[in-house]
């Protein structure tokens, strides 16, 4: 089999290509920095030429790009995409999603179902995978253990607060309303209610206000954008609450692009390289936190799988698919409130052996059920 893989810098590209090769899928690469996922003439030319000059069975990308979907459709070649983001952050995605040459894999079952329920039969559910062999081969020097190790670690985005500026021109009533929805969501695990509570009228009011302030404004608020901003706000607050309290009671390192001023006692470490450094954090820390972005309704985030695949102990928010594939307190541990997270993190940070024995179980499960070979087989089987 021959694959043309589009590389844009996704975390998992290197591992995917490695496993394609192991499974005798000949891979050619096309690297390009797309400014616009929907449209790029030079790129379309380049891709078209590459497809015509090669004899590929499929074009592949991590995440979904309408521009690729269109070229593949025009040239009659299969386009396979496997997303690790939810939402997908693609404008007007439904315009191309159903193209018959597409096979679009999504790792969040509810996200996939949403499109399937609309009649889009090119979308399928496929949970993510972990390069367990590569993680197994990584060993840490004592210096690295000291550098990356911690009682509690968190790798992730602290999100900036954009919601405030989005809603600043709104009436007090609407601000109160949005605040309430965020607070309600904060108390809920396993359900995402923000979308249903953003009415068309509310969006219209927001845009009317923007136009009132600047009549020729090009800024247009959409439900997706507001939903994302609210989800980020709630998640940021949850991350700050949990990390903030824990950092006062235990050694806590967090790896993020930007330092969060509110986390005074937490040890800020710059963001780590996904491939070469991140696994070391998970291997060297007693407790690894996963606090999922709220908008991810049911799927298991890559972070959680990577933690377990590295043999790290995972403490995660309750996430429906995590509960489905893994046993709580056996393979990993889940929390369903901020207080719950704090007390469990403290408990396992102090009970290293218990954490380690749970981590081993999680690792075995990930190795068995979330490996790249199985996933690629699924992808290849569908082609045949």
């Amino acid at each position: 089999m021959r694959a043309l893989v589009f590389r844009w810098g996704a975390y998992t590209e290197e591992d995917l290509i490695h496993y394609f090769k192991i499974m005798n899928i000949n891979t050619s690469i096309i690297i390009y920095e797309l400014a616009d996922k929907n449209h790029d003439d030079p790129f379309e030319e380049l891709l078209k030429k590459k497809i015509e000059n090669g004899q590929f069975d499929f074009v592949f990308s991590v995440n979904y790009f309408p521009v690729i979907a269109e070229v593949c459709y025009k040239t009659g070649i299969r386009y396979i995409s496997w997303s690790y983001d939810a939402p997908l952050n693609v404008i007007n995605i439904e315009e191309t999603l159903g193209l018959p040459t597409n096979t679009v894999y999504m790792f969040d079952r509810l996200q996939a179902k949403e499109y399937q329920d609309k009649g889009i039969n090119t979308v399928f559910y496929l949970p993510l995978a972990v390069p367990v062999e590569r993680y197994d081969a990584m060993s840490l020097s004592d210096k690295e253990k000291a550098k990356y190790g911690s009682g509690i670690s968190f790798v992730g985005n602290m999100y900036t607060d954009i919601l405030g500026s989005y809603i600043s021109p709104l009436s007090e009533y609407d601000k109160g309303y949005i605040s309430a929805i965020c607070n309600a969501q904060s108390n809920l695990y396993g359900a995402y209610i923000i979308d249903e509570n953003i009415s068309d009228e509310l969006i219209k009011r927001i845009n009317d206000k923007y136009r009132e302030i600047k009549p020729d404004t090009e800024i247009e608020m959409s439900r997706e954008a507001l939903s994302y901003a609210m989800a980020a706000f709630v998640t940021r607050r949850e991350r700050i609450s949990i990390l903030g309290v824990l950092a006062n009671r235990s050694e806590l390192k967090y790896y993020s692009r930007n330092k969060c001023e509110m986390l005074e006692n937490a040890i800020f470490c710059n963001s780590v390289d996904y491939v070469s450094e991140m696994p070391k954090v998970f291997k060297a820390s007693t407790v690894n936190l996963n606090i999922t972005l709220k908008i991810l309704r049911s799927g298991i985030p890559l972070r959680a799988l990577d933690i377990m695949g590295c043999g790290g102990f995972l403490l995660s928010n309750y996430q429906p698919e995590l509960a489905e594939y893994f046993s709580d307190e056996v393979d990993m541990v889940m929390y369903s409130s901020v207080e719950d997270a704090i007390s469990k993190a403290m408990y396992y940070a102090r009970n290293k052996e218990k954490a380690e024995s749970i981590a081993i179980n999680g690792y075995e499960k990930v190795k068995k059920y979330f490996n790249y070979i199985d996933r690629i087989n699924t992808i290849v089987d569908k082609i045949k």
Binding site: S171, E172, Y173, D174, K175, G176, Y177, I178, S179, A180, I181, N183, A184, Q185, N187, L188, A191, I193, E196, N197
Partner: protein, 396 residues
Amino acid sequence: MKILTLKWDCFGYIQIINAFKRAGFELCEIDFPREREDTRSSEKLAGLVVHAIQNNNADIVFSFNYFPVVAIAAAACKVKYISWTYDSPYVMLYSRTIEFPTNYAFVFDKTEYINLKNKGINTVYYLPLAADTEYFDEFTFDESERIKYASDISFIGSMYTEKKNDLIHHFDGLDDYTSGYLSGIMDAQKQIYGMSILEKSLTPDIVKNIQKVCPMFESGDGVEDASWVLANYFVARKLTAMERTEMLSVLSEKYNVAIYTPGKTEYLRKTNNRGPIDYYKEFPKAVKASKININITLRSIVTGIPLRAFDIMGCGGFLLSNYQADFNDYFIPDEDYVYFDSVDNLVEKAGYYLEHDAERDKIAKSGYEKVKNYHNYYIRVKEMMDILGIALQGEH
């Protein structure tokens, strides 16, 4: 063993007396004037109960609903106090007196039970309500009554829009932000069954803003806080009013809906408002004459099975209820009753079961049998006494 029962106009009084008798207990009773006296702290009431306990040599005191003064009296006399609370919300469960070791406080909402347990209160227990199917079985119709009460769909209950229930009009003058906030948490809660986010979402700032226009006095002996009172007495009722209005309105657009309710309902133009009915004399007839009986649970009852649901099934009526998690402990959906989890779902299921008489009858019958055999007052008495560690003296 002698039980002193406190008589007031509660549901189930005659039924519990009969069940205690059947279980072989000796009985005595006193009138309990809870409307006239303060059941938290009235010395007069406490004295009344103490005397009754002593004069009758009672071993156990029983009341429906929990009363702090009774707990005080029972504790003073060192006798057990069994209470079975069927009201919700019921703020007196948060009285500090709940912790007296002589208390056995049964509550019918498992979430309420868990909340109290989590506060460290070990004198509460979960006990669902019950129905007296023998009593309901007595009701027969003549033809004119059948016509009078007949309906495709019936709803029996308060709309919570009546002045006495619309506590939120006390919030006139509330600032815009807080108004929007209350609107938001109600809209959010509307989508969620099985859990309440109301109390947790009423943050201290919001509570402060509300108290500016509606000062609430916290009871001296209780541990409930303002957010609990606001969530359960105010917001939950308002939300229930909104939901009952919306659901009955939407249903009546498509189907014939009769409602039996005390207030005027001009806002429900297509429903047939037949006014309030007497629980003992008319309710069973209204249920039996209706093809479908709707239950839309008061939102302060988070997971509990409301008395209404037991009544409907106990009358042999077909129950179509909002999802309430405690049903899962005892009943099978689509076999003993049917639940809906959204307005659309309600309309869809109502339509389906109006068209499928045989299925509907089968479900109603199954629900009835379950209630008759497993959810009667005698069984509840057994369950209570199991927890108290008292063997029943009468028939087994």
